[in-house]
């Protein structure tokens, strides 16, 4: 009796898995795309539905806030343990990314870079938790972050050089006037494209990692046999380890590129 029930359950699961494997890409897309969790109305053309990616973002934020609050709750001259680790990362960001690229005049934008680094890092790493997804694998999230870098950079440029000086930055000096109609759009394009690339780089890296892991996993369902399972298992393990590395690298890359872009906007026109 019990055996029959168990056998039936296994059969059902297998059938379901088989059906999912039938549309392999659908199974993957289901895990990659944002899934609505709480339906909210659309206001001014913006669908305010809360998706799982937004929930993940909130979890990441909560983790960050509690980690920092716990680590630096007591005012001490020298932090211990957890706080020590966080502090060493902050020192690294300050001394090797923010100060070399922004200098003293760009120091007021450091808050953004600190927050961006830790936010992206935690979002990336959360994607590796089974059952969770990474919010940075959503193009909407990375676009928002890239837009922030873009607006901060442009604001910094205008604040420093004035509106006229800011627009002068689009005109490369020392060029014949007749080339300018070509060069000015090129400059504008390069400004826009590097921020678009910033968004797509982070998004594609995170999404690509998940797709590769899910694809390898679906090998089991495509073959419909557990005998092949060890092969994907080790591949997934390897990919997951690689994902940890990529999570760190992408957070670093986004932060340093943001710092460089803001630094470029602050630079004197040449």
């Amino acid at each position: 009796m019990l055996y029959n029930v168990a056998a039936k359950a296994v059969e059902q699961t297998a059938a379901q898995a088989g059906a999912e494997a039938g549309g392999g890409s659908e199974f993957i897309m289901h895990h990659i795309l944002a899934q609505p969790v709480i339906k909210l109305p659309t206001i001014w053309g913006i669908d305010l539905t809360i998706t799982n990616h937004i929930i993940m973002m909130w979890i990441a934020s909560a983790l960050l806030i509690s980690a920092f609050t716990l680590a630096f709750r007591k005012k001490r001259q020298v932090p211990h343990g957890w706080g020590n680790m966080l502090e060493s990362v902050v020192v690294y960001l300050r001394d090797d990314i923010i100060i070399p690229n922004l200098g003293d005049e760009g120091w007021k934008y450091s808050t953004y870079l600190f927050t961006a680094f830790f936010f992206i890092l935690v979002c990336n790493l959360l994607g590796l938790v089974p059952g969770a997804t990474s919010a940075t694998g959503d193009i909407g999230v990375t676009t928002t972050l890239a837009l922030m870098t873009f607006f901060i950079g442009q604001y910094a440029g205008i604040a420093k050089h004035g509106l006229l000086g800011y627009f002068k930055n689009f005109i490369p000096s020392g060029l014949p006037v007749f080339i300018l109609p070509i060069m000015v759009p090129v400059e504008v394009m390069s400004l826009l494209s590097r921020h678009i690339a910033l968004a797509i780089r982070l998004f594609a890296n995170m999404m690509g990692g998940h797709i590769s892991i899910l694809s390898i996993m679906s090998i089991i369902f495509i073959f419909k046999s557990w005998i092949v399972a060890p092969f994907p298992f080790f591949l997934i393990l390897f990919s997951a380890l690689l994902e940890i590395l990529i999570a760190l690298i992408q957070a670093y890359v986004f932060t340093i590129l943001s710092a460089v872009f803001i630094g470029l906007a602050l630079e004197e026109e040449h």
Binding site: I50, M57, I65, F72, R76, P79, E87, F119, I139, M148
Partner: protein, 164 residues
Amino acid sequence: MELLTPEGGTLFWTALTFIALLIILRKVAWHPILHMLEDREHRIKESLDKAEKARIEAEKTLAEQAQIIKTAQKTAQEIIGKSQKSAESIKEDIVKRAHLEADKMLQKAKRDIELSRDKAMEDIQELAVNLSMMATEKLIGRSLDEKDHKVIISESLSKLEDMN
């Protein structure tokens, strides 16, 4: 939900979440951490400065001490030299005085001896006079006037002395 199209809602929620996170973390994390770092860097720099100052001070003190020791040695040398000289002079003084004393004592002894000799001579003279008187009395049978005797004996004695 499209893969490559940013959703308006996601943009909105991300911006809201991120800005809220930024404001909260600035208060609980970045400000305290950076303040603490600055404080610590300041303190380390101060301690290093203090240590440097203390080192210079110690070196100065050491040099001063060496100077003091040198002076003390010089003074000690001087004192030893001086006391040696004074001891020398005292010694000479003592020896001189001792010589003087000895001389004085010698003189006194000589005088005493002379006095005793004179006295002894006188005694012997007297004894001799008395003896001769007694002898002559026995020889002559009668006693001369003591005065005469004395005169005679004195004369003979002075003769004896002259013969000497």
